[in-house]
Structure formats: C-alpha cells, structure tokens
C-alpha cells in the first residue's frame, strides 16, 4: 500500500481497541543523564522495544550490518513520529513493530535483491567487532524463529504475519489485528488456521 510507511496509525480503518502499554512504564536505565521528559519517554520506549525490533529484522536478515541499518531506520522513523503516536490505537510494542514492518516493506520494494537478505550500501557507520557480535547474537537467537518463518512461508502473507506478530512479537491479537489492518475476528480466524496447519505439518511451537 502506498500510505506513508513510516507513520503507523495514519490508517483510519484500523481497529482502535488495543492498549497494552506496559513497556512505556519501564524506567530509564539507572544512572542515565537527566533528559527532557519527552526524550526520556522516547528512551523508555527505545530501551523496551530495541530487542523486539532487532529480533524482527534478525528473523529476516542474516547480515548484522543490515539488521543494524533497518533497526536504525525504524528508530529514526520512531523519533520523528513519536509526538504523534496514538496509544489509544496501539500499544508501544505494536506501534514500534508497525514501523519496523513498514521499514522492511519499503526496503524490500527498493532493493532488487529483495528477500535474499542481501546487503545494501549502508547509510550507517560500519559496525565494529563487538557490535557485530551483538547483532550476530540477535541473529543466532532468532534462528529457531527463522525456521518457523520458513514453514510459514507457504501460507498467505496475512496468515504468516498474524502468527509472527502474536507468537513471536508477542502482540495481543487486538494489536496484531490493528497492525495488519484487519478485524480481530479475521485475525483470530487466520491465526487458528495457521496454527492448525503448523500442527498438521508437524509440530507446533507451543
């Protein structure tokens, strides 16, 4: 779709019944410098959601630099949209994953080698060895999730994303429905269908 990929919540058709915002209550790291309130709120969101965003990209890309770039793009978009987010429409996890989803979609559309985890010319400074290890850790951590994603690849895109958002990103069904722009009922149907298919094909995550 052509809506601004970096502005979740612009879609008036989305459900607006999700509010699961425990992440926002996470305090800043002890010892951090006193920040202005909105910057401090952004740091809370950043610290709470960094792992979810890095994992989201680590499930899709095997190159640390690419995971770093897409994670960076996501949080740059997040800081630009931070003042306009509407937590009545989506919790902070759903809001952030919504941005990550659009960043990834935009990257796939712009990169002719889409879907192959190929590198792109990086706009970010190259990672040093320690940072590369850090990102590799996320990539390794998501190895089993990538296997699940490969099994999901045979399903429709919406079924696949329904499973990922609920089972891997840990969004509530209402939040996942909001991110996908479908009703909660439709989300439940897709989720049940996908889970049944996974079970049939041998072993569910649960």
């Amino acid at each position: 779709m052509r809506q601004d990929p970096l502005r979740p919540g612009d879609d008036d058709d989305r459900q607006s019944d999700s509010l699961n915002d425990s992440a926002a209550e996470k305090p800043s790291e002890p010892g951090s410098v006193d920040l202005p309130p909105r910057l401090s709120a952004f740091e809370s969101l950043y610290r709470a959601q960094f792992g979810a965003v890095a994992a989201y990209f680590a499930r899709r890309c095997a190159e640390p630099q690419l995971v770093a770039d897409l994670t960076t793009d996501t949080f740059v978009a997040a800081i630009h949209s931070f003042g306009e987010r509407d937590l009545q429409r989506a919790g902070e996890r759903a809001w952030t994953i919504g941005i990550a989803r659009r960043v990834y979609a935009r990257w796939r559309e712009s990169d002719p080698r889409e879907g192959r985890g190929a590198a792109r010319p990086s706009a970010q400074p190259l990672l040093d060895r320690t940072e590369t290890k850090e990102l590799m850790w996320w990539i390794d951590l998501e190895r089993s999730s990538r296997e699940l994603m490969e099994r999901l690849a045979r399903m429709s895109a919406l079924d696949r994303e329904a499973v990922e958002l609920v089972d891997l990103c840990e969004l509530t069904p209402a939040e996942a429905a909001s991110v996908l722009g479908i009703s909660r009922g439709a989300l439940r149907v897709r989720l049940a269908r996908a889970h049944a298919r996974l079970r049939r094909e041998g072993g569910d995550r649960g």
Partner: protein, 188 residues
C-alpha cells in the same frame, strides 16, 4: 548495556533529539508542528470532503448504503459492498475512475466457468500489497493499491451474499478483463 544499542541511542539523540526537546509551545524553531498543522488540517478537511463526496456519489438509490468506493489521499481505494444491489454501481464507479478493478456478484446462473478466469501469477507478498481487508466504520471492505496491480491484470472482487445482509468479498487477480458475474466456488 549493549554497545550498538547504546551507540544508536546516542546518535538518535544527537541527530534527532531536538524533535523531542523543543517545547511545543515556546520553541524558537517552532515549529515543524505548527507549520505542519494547518497543512495537515487542510489536507484532512479535503480528504473528508472528498470522501463524503465520493460516498455520496457512490451510494445506491433510495437512500440505501449498498456500497462505497472511496478514493483515499494516499492513492488507494477502499471498496465496501453491503448489499448485492451495490455491486453494479460500485463496478461502474471503479471503471469511471479508470482502475483495473472490477466487482462482480457470485450467482448460481452465471454462464462463466471458473476455469475461464485465468489467475495472474503473483507472489503472495505482491498480492498483499495490492489488496488488504479493512473494516471502515465496522463494515468489511477491501483497500486496494491500484499502482501495485501488474499491467494487463485486473483485480476481481467477487461479492457473495452468504446470508441476508452479509456480503463476503473475495479478491482474485486475473489476467485480462473481468466477467460480469462469477459462478460459485467450492463451498460457496
């Protein structure tokens, strides 16, 4: 704390932190928000007006709300069908807009064979860019990005009245033009 996570946060604050540190009310640089708001408000008003006009034009006769074809500001089009009587005017409206999208009712006596519908071969991710299910104002519909439809293909929306007042829309990307009706599929 992790190094990349920390470095990225520092860089975000250095390069974009001013977005969150400038007081919205008294900043000397005011204003991204203030500059943008009139534009956003105008755009919103125009969008609402346009949507109202399109909905007004699109509604079936007799004051019913049989269908809606709404052109969204981002270039997508939202189609909802709530009564079968809305199928033909919705289809007509889509053709007026010059979009490669058709709506056809599922009917038992449709002379078209389903095998005559040549499904276009596109990956699921392309299909999901073309069309997605939405629920505007509690009604089920689809939002379509016409620019994502491959040249020469048509997005066919088949409207099937499962039971009184309940219309199911199914989307099928086909090669060439769409028929005026669709025969029931398996289970329909």
């Amino acid at each position: 704390m992790a190094r990349f996570e920390d470095r990225l946060f520092r860089e975000l604050v250095e390069q974009h932190g001013s977005l969150l540190t400038e007081p919205p009310a008294a900043a000397p640089v005011l204003p991204r928000r203030l500059r943008r708001r009139p534009a956003v408000a105008i755009a919103l008003a125009l969008a609402v007006a346009l949507a109202a006009i399109v909905i007004g034009l699109s509604r079936g006769g007799g004051g019913t709300n049989a269908y809606a074809v709404v052109t969204n500001p981002d270039g997508t089009v939202t189609v909802t069908i709530s009564e079968l009587v809305g199928v033909a005017p919705a289809d007509e409206r889509l053709h007026e807009l010059g979009l490669p999208v058709s709506v056809a009712a599922v009917t038992e006596d449709c002379p078209v064979e389903r095998s005559e519908l040549h499904r276009a071969d596109v990956p699921p991710e392309v299909m999901s860019r073309i069309v997605e299910t939405v629920s505007p104002a509690g009604r089920t519909g689809v939002r379509i990005d016409p620019s994502a439809i491959p040249a020469g293909d048509t997005l066919l929306l088949s409207a099937n009245e499962r039971r009184a007042g309940v219309i199911a829309l199914r989307e099928l990307l086909i090669e060439g033009s769409a028929p005026s009706c669709v025969p029931p599929g398996p289970g329909e």
